[in-house]
Amino acid sequence: MSFLTLDHLQKSFGDTKVVHDFDMRVEKGEFISFLGPSGCGKTTVLRMVAGFETPSAGRILIDGQDVTGLRPNQRQIGMVFQAYALFPNLTVADNVGFGLKVAGVPRAERGPRVAEMLDLIGLPQMGGRYPWQLSGGQQQRVALARALAPRPRVLLLDEPLSALDAKIRVSLRNQIREIQQQLGITTIFVTHDQEEALSISDRIVVMHRGVADQTGTPREIYNHPTTDFVANFVGTLNRFPAEVLDAATGRLRVGGTEIELGRPVGPGPLVLAARPEGLVLAETGIPAEVTGVEFLGSVQRLRARAAGQSIVMDRFNAPTAALPAPGETVHLCPLRSHWMVLAQPEAEIV
């Protein structure tokens, strides 16, 4: 029995259906990310779990209890907002202790709990400050402590890092993950940043137009996308139209070059796809004209045109290897294990 169940949730605002048939089960202590483009309904699903929106259809269960009809303040859910939403008239300690006070926890027990929470987020000295005296990253950590203090059953975070700059974003997301694992709290994290989702989640739900397109571990999502949308949205994908020569052995013709995948494929025409790191330069292969080279430190990124498509290829930096120059013709060789076969036009992947 799963801990948090979203049972065929639907939501319409007036005539527009924003969430179609969202169905998912979350285990206790799991860290789930909702990933998707702007407007796909991530926030709406989260707000239904929190109780700020009422589902048009479907049920929400927490630990076996149907909470669909409960008001937000009865659900025991912790929420962290993009805009921090700390109470400006209260000190950091009072902010963190707010939920405990509401729950009627006596002062003598509140103090130690607040101190414990401030320790957890690494701001033990800041209890007496007011929110406006803290940096954005500190404020968001206080918001996290405030949400966690009353021991909620589920923690919801709606793009908590979007308002922060890149460096703090990375360190804070790791801190959130650490705290989440330490407390073992069931968490849903909304983001439109795929790197964020890939790096800290147990499972990712990729959302598209109000539907959960694919649910899986970060590796599954990245390496074995099951829909065209997921394949394109998560990571960069190079696509080559391919002609099937022999479906049984997986012999294909791509851009005038024959490729043997060594596994059976469906009837053509197909699209052969590979991540930037799934292509290597070789003596023979698909001919490509280099259009640009970027040196990114540990990685070199090659942009080229092959088989009428713009493609991107990544390889690790090698101090002695020469970089191809723009205009040069190179040959791209597929790394077999990296190739994905996308059916055309149906979005099915082997």
Partner: protein, 260 residues
């Protein structure tokens, strides 16, 4: 040259406001022939009617402020949170007291709540006081609503509300503990204006026949020479004193925020 003109404008402006004030003060001190004295003030302060009416009006002013806050803060909050599309309408409604003369409002009250009506409020002194209070709250509404609404605009009402709700808080706690303290400065400025309006108000109090300060000033002005001037100066000082106190309170609230 330009500086000269701005100085001239400043001086003229200052004279425009200060001369009548100085004149009034000077006049109020001349009750005793041939010498300056505080006789007029003594006479005013010794008048039991002054104390009674002034006390009454101060009481009414404070009640008006309380009623205004209780009425306006939740309303403005709710409109911002749930009915943002109605904001222009509500704003228009709150401005109506500026357009509709007080005398119209009072006659409306008297017609609606006279002794032969379902709710005969004008029948008793207490009932009439309640009517007057409602009238005062109406007069203060435009200032109170604007002040509070401006105060609310400086914070993210929706996120704060949702954060509090997810922490288990109900409406009373959200409004009392989070919204009100955060608009306190705005409430204070609204309260000051309400106070000033109520202390000097004449029409409503006179027509409802309540012993308020406004009608007393009018009465005194019609019958005495020096005392009205002294009264004006006292009213002026009290008003400014109130403003100072309210400034102080909001400053103190600010200091509590700054001190860590």
């Amino acid at each position: 040259m330009k500086r000269l003109w701005s100085w001239a404008a400043l001086v003229i402006g200052a004279l425009y406001f200060l001369l009548p004030l100085i004149g009034t003060i000077e006049f109020s001190l001349r009750m005793r022939r041939g010498a300056y004295s505080l006789d007029a003030y003594r006479s005013v302060l010794a008048d039991p009617a002054f104390r009674a009416t002034f006390g009454y009006s101060v009481m009414m002013a404070l009640l008006t402020i309380v009623l205004g806050v209780v009425l306006v803060v939740p309303t403005a909050y709710w409109v911002r949170l749930r009915l943002p599309r109605l904001r222009p309408v509500i704003e228009f409604v709150t401005l109506l007291p500026l357009v509709i003369p007080a005398i119209v409002v009072v006659f409306g009250y008297i017609r609606l709540y006279n002794t032969s009506s379902i709710l005969p409020l004008t029948g008793t002194a207490g009932g009439t006081n309640i009517l007057l209070l409602c009238g005062y709250a109406t007069l203060a509404l435009p200032y109170m609503y604007r002040a509070v609404d401006t105060g609310l605009s400086t914070m993210d009402v929706r996120s704060l509300t949702e954060a509090a709700q997810s922490l288990g808080a109900g409406w009373v706690r959200i409004i009392g503990r989070l919204i009100l303290p955060n608009v306190l400065g705005a409430v204070m400025s609204g309260a000051f204006l309400s106070f000033a309006i109520v202390i000097g108000e004449f029409t409503m109090a006179a027509l409802l026949n309540r012993p308020a300060f406004g009608p007393y000033m009018q009465l005194l002005g019609a019958n005495r020479a020096y005392e009205p001037a002294a009264l004006a100066v006292i009213a002026f000082a009290v008003t400014w004193g109130c403003m100072g106190v309210m400034q102080l309170i909001s400053r103190l609230a600010g200091v509590r925020k700054t001190a860590t």
